[in-house]
Subunit: 446 residues, 2 copies
Amino acid sequence: MAAQVEAVVEMSNINGNGVAASCRERLCSALDGLWRSIVGFAGKLAKIAREDPRRVAHALKVGLALTLVSVLYYVTPLFQGFGVSTLWAVLTVVVVMEFTVGGTLIKGLNRAFATLVAGFIAVGAHKVADLCGDKGEPILLAVFVFLLASAATFSRFIPEIKARYDYGVTIFILTFSLVAVSSYRVEELIKLAHQRFSTIVVGVLTCLATTVFVFPVWAGEDLHKLAAGNLDKLAGFLEGMEFECFREDPTSDDLENKAFLQVYKSVLNSKATEDSLCNFAKWEPGHGKFGFRHPWGQYQKLGALCRQCASSMEALASYVVTLTKSQYPEANPVLSFKVRATCGEMSLYSAKTLRELSAAIRTMTVPSKASTHMSAAVKAAKCLRSELSEDAALLEVMHVPVIASLLSDLVLQIQKITESVDNLAKLAKFKNPEKTQKEVVINVGS
Amino acid sequence: MAAQVEAVVEMSNINGNGVAASCRERLCSALDGLWRSIVGFAGKLAKIAREDPRRVAHALKVGLALTLVSVLYYVTPLFQGFGVSTLWAVLTVVVVMEFTVGGTLIKGLNRAFATLVAGFIAVGAHKVADLCGDKGEPILLAVFVFLLASAATFSRFIPEIKARYDYGVTIFILTFSLVAVSSYRVEELIKLAHQRFSTIVVGVLTCLATTVFVFPVWAGEDLHKLAAGNLDKLAGFLEGMEFECFREDPTSDDLENKAFLQVYKSVLNSKATEDSLCNFAKWEPGHGKFGFRHPWGQYQKLGALCRQCASSMEALASYVVTLTKSQYPEANPVLSFKVRATCGEMSLYSAKTLRELSAAIRTMTVPSKASTHMSAAVKAAKCLRSELSEDAALLEVMHVPVIASLLSDLVLQIQKITESVDNLAKLAKFKNPEKTQKEVVINVGS
């Protein structure tokens, strides 16, 4: 009996150990998975920080500004001056702090002015409503809030206001509603409005001081670098073309995966960043190499031209890829060689021009050598045209086929679009057309 | 003496009349100018409203939601339930109301969840700080605010968080800072947090009720219409090409100003709108013809293909314009005629395909005829290729010159970029390079 009990106890011990062991295993593997995902996430964060260390500085700056402004709350004499309105300083800092100096400046100015204007109008509305007695006051206030909020919201659809004062209009509606509505219950309205406005100004000033004096990020500088970077990317494409396609022994094995065929693509989508940076840069005070009235608008014009150029590069790239895939034999090596050499020259000198221009922007030096390269490229283009025009047979037949081949490229792209819409129709369960098969057949015949 | 006085008085009267008359004139012209600018502004507003009447509805809806929520403040029993926190309902409505249902939903959910999470963490931080005594508490609170605000701000640089939860993170920082900072002075912290959260929920619910039940604007519907509209624009370009360039008597007088050469351009810049609409649409509940799990991601894929197509159209358009300007003689009318006819077919059937696809999306019907048109276009393209390959002489010389001509287009564009940078250098007063004239000359020679 005793032996049996012992055996049972031992068994359950073994089982217990087994369960514990499998639990430990599972726990270990779960911890391992957790650890791996933590490491992965940390790696991602480190990459974001490494890509642009100013991001870390910005995060610390927001923390600093908030801590500075919260001192108002902790130090009793300061707190008694502003009262509970101190919270508005904290709120302002959170909402106004932006990555660039220009962004913070625009938001801060918008906030301060909109609060001031809306506050005045709201106090006026309160005075008017006050004349209508206790019963009329809330009704009149509600009508005022409805009218002004509607009008202000509609004004946000005007493109000029949307671009520059969108945030200001939001704050206008906010302040007007808050002051007008609370005027019904608050006794010392003017004192409250005054307190709130001054805390907002304190908040805005804290933000500005932090963004301007601690590792400032200037939108203008970013815009300037973006312009130079875009020119470099365009140059990279042309250099790649020259090296891969127009050398004597072109290495056209797997052209499609070459980096240079992707490099211009980010230029195509640079408009939104460029526009917002330009909007911010216009508000920034002079700094470093940039004066207060630096011609920021020019960067937008240059950007538009670069995007057009990138768009032509896309057409050229897709044509070149199609061509290398189809591998037509070259039956006229002499002409091919001639044209190829000229193409190489055009690419090379154009790329050199772009590199010169980019360097000129980076160093803010007048681009002196660019015009030399440019005229070499233009000369090569002219030379090509005259060569082609000497070969009459070639000229005659060339232009229409160019359009034809561009068009047949388009046809392929539209085929892809058709497939995409078919896919959508399948996934979104589009209904089938209410036609008999007959009609479709007739239509094919027509 | 009396007569003299009379004369002086009369003189000054006349002068006075003269001054009054010129004043009246100036006043009249000023009033006239004012009136004209008012009329102009009203016309602009009317145009904005006419373009999309939902804008007027949206403005009135914001007014309505604000008025509804301010009733909380005017009705004494409701006010006593929420206290001064009622203001947070007003603030929430102003900030959360967006044009589309999806936009409002995302902002509202972000705001409610971020407030809840931040509130809990902040109360926890307050409990911890409370343990450190009167002197330690503000210091510890400040450290917490600094750390959390910095970490949260940095998280906004993670692309996934930026795209979806940017607003939520702002509200998280805001709520945490407000609650943590004010916990130092406020006695009934939990009650205050509870009041504030419930007013925010009331605000969000008011917004949602107004956007969903009063003239709802669905982001999904807009995205759907945008896709169909983009296809129509691409079709418009091809129809224009067919009519103006590939008919037997092309009317190529001033091709450059034709509308069809501009119509695809807005497709190129549709990415930002599309992305934000798609982001909103994913959050919208099922409505009308769209189920809850409608494949919104497909619209983005379709959009990317449309933009690529528009980009090829840009290349084709610029080539066609250059060609008609240069007016080369057509020395091989038979071939020209053949190729032109095939080009016309390709354009026509491609355009028909696109129109079919657009109609299919609009009516949510499976595109049945599109494949017929598409195969006609593909057939024409193949036919062209085989025709060209029969003419061996043509094929041989065609492909390299295509690339050459696309490249020489690029050269012209880069020339424009050079001019733009030169202009920038002049306006921004770039410094001159520190080189002697000699070096430049040597460089030209090399």
